[in-house]
Assembly symmetry: C2
Homo-oligomer: 205 residues x 2
């Protein structure tokens, strides 16, 4: 009774779904969810207005898929960044570097992730807020272990974690591909600033 193809509704035809996701990310990032029409998305993906609904049940479902996969990739990237690193300063620097650079490199997706989740249904919003908590917890944990080892001098871990996240997240608000600094440079700057914030010394030359 098993079908010869694996369950197909997670859309095998990656290219059209991919074009839709890209077109939606660009439009949502530039104009916001409500100012974007399904016709914008369809034409951005080279489809007729009805073509969207072959792959997504609604405009909100498209936003949800974007928001969830964006949150997941940010979280995975953060985990990969600190994996294998022992020293708290290295872990913090790597996390801040990668997270900031991600918000620049993926600035369209990042804008959707940071500023459009309010337009999700309550159930969908709850799901992505869970992923956000994981990201917050990871940053807090990096700070906590640094404080425990005496590598960081921090007044309040929650406040400091929030400030660090602000610096990185806000990149999505002001970044534009036309500026001089590259995502990598932005990451390096924010990593250095983060080490100052937590009272660590930058790795000596």
């Amino acid at each position: 009774m098993l079908p010869p193809t694996p369950p197909r509704y997670p859309a095998r035809d990656a290219t059209t779904v991919d074009r839709l996701m890209r077109a939606a990310a660009q439009a949502f990032a530039e104009k916001g969810f409500h100012a974007t029409t399904t016709r914008d998305i369809a034409s951005g993906a080279g489809l007729s207005p009805a073509g969207v609904y072959v792959h997504f049940g609604s405009k909100e479902e498209l936003l949800f898929n974007l928001s969830r996969s964006g949150h997941q990739s940010a979280l995975q990237m953060l985990r990969a960044a600190v994996e294998g690193l022992e020293a708290p300063t290295e872990r913090l620097a790597a996390a801040m570097q990668q997270f900031s650079a991600w918000h620049a490199e993926q600035h369209q997706l990042a804008k959707v992730v940071q500023y459009e989740h309010q337009h999700l249904t309550p159930e969908h919003r709850a799901e992505v807020l869970g992923l956000r908590k994981d990201i917050d917890a990871l940053v807090r944990q990096v700070l906590e272990s640094g404080v425990a080892e005496g590598a960081f001098d921090v007044e309040d871990i929650g406040d400091t974690a929030l400030a660090l996240l602000s610096m990185a997240v806000d990149v999505a608000r002001w970044y534009s591909p036309t500026i001089k600094r590259t995502p990598r440079q932005i990451g390096a700057t924010n990593a250095a600033l983060a080490l100052r914030l937590v009272g660590a010394r930058p790795t000596p030359a």
Copy 2:
């Protein structure tokens, strides 16, 4: 030929205009400009849908008035905060404290200011972007004088100013009146973190 009343189209009846501005600020902050209908604003101000157009020519004009007056009040507040202060650490701490607290206390207006200006007409956007540049310039100037006096140790003034602004502006994104910290406490935290960022010592006890 001068009329007995001064030019009247800047709306003398402050109370209805004020109710409209408040209702619009709340709706724009909570749902965004495009998701807000003129009927939302009208009913929020206790008017019929047509009543809005007695005082504002369009929904965008309402947004513009909000955005401009919000930018102006933020800028004025920043100027007042540093006025009369000589020591760079005091000036930076005062600016950061007040600017961060403003984004909490006025979080609805601040959200409109920071996240909705993309929906202004090009002319109106250009006008508020001018005010934003003034705010950026003020922060930079505080950093520059601190560096010149040897009070701050900063690698790059532009990057550091941007990080400081990120910390303050991002308050509007995460602040909610239900959290434990008061706007004043948030301001104090961010002021202390700012002094760390610029390599200054917090004022000794």
